[in-house]
Symmetry: C2
Subunit: 139 residues, 2 copies
């Protein structure tokens, strides 16, 4: 836990599933499992692809406060990043994270109106390991 | 998905890990992996054990709005329950969900001040399966 960024990257690289948290218009938190993020810049910026029509996109448009959580269910190590979630629709953003096979989720291809990009900007983090936790700031 | 309660119970029974969501005092959502809940009454009330000293307990004391999430990472089926989270400290509540071996987490035993009970009361749910989702109310 002495190197928070590397700790997060290890979880990011080795877990097939990640989780994103949102807050709905009534103030209730929500959680959704996501496939591994598509791209990252350090641990400051993380990109996901998702369906525009899902509730979580609606939540983020109303309230951009968000979290991203990575967890190893065997070791129970975890990393929680808090920050903001932007929803992006431009052709450039769509192309940036599009992958072969995505037609399974977005039959209309890159321009499918049900396809959008979630861009998470982290501002702080908390790591969990061996019943201990450490907070850190992300610049 | 025609029987939401059974759908949730199947995930509950078969997944070793569950997730709880909170909202911190700055309005940011948080997520924590939890061992399987200790007890449930239908899917309306779900009990967890946890360390009093963790941030999530602090969050729930300030803001009881919460969610519980179950997810099968292979089939990507998921169930999100929204509701409120109470923190309980009475001897009766502590005994109710105490299990042999809990000394590993709470060395002081049932009366360890770092041991408490989280009681989740669900009011609504959302199920995810095969890229579809269904909302339901929990009475």
């Amino acid at each position: 836990m002495n190197n928070p960024e590397q700790f997060v990257i290890n979880l990011y690289e080795n877990q097939p599933v990640s989780f994103i948290g949102s807050v709905d218009q009534n103030g209730f938190p929500g959680i959704r499992a996501m496939l591994r993020p598509r791209k990252r810049e350090g641990i400051k910026t993380i990109y996901f692809s998702t369906n525009t029509s899902t509730n979580k996109v609606e939540d983020f448009v109303e309230n951009e406060k968000a979290c991203v959580y990575f967890c190893d269910p065997v070791t129970f190590q975890g990393a929680l990043l808090k920050g903001s979630m932007e929803t992006l629709y431009s052709r450039q953003d769509r192309e940036m994270i599009w992958q072969k096979g995505d037609e399974m989720y977005y039959p209309g291809g890159i321009d499918d109106p049900d396809y959008c990009v979630l861009k998470f900007n982290a501002s702080s983090g908390r790591l969990y390991s061996d019943l201990r936790s450490v907070n850190f700031v992300i610049y």
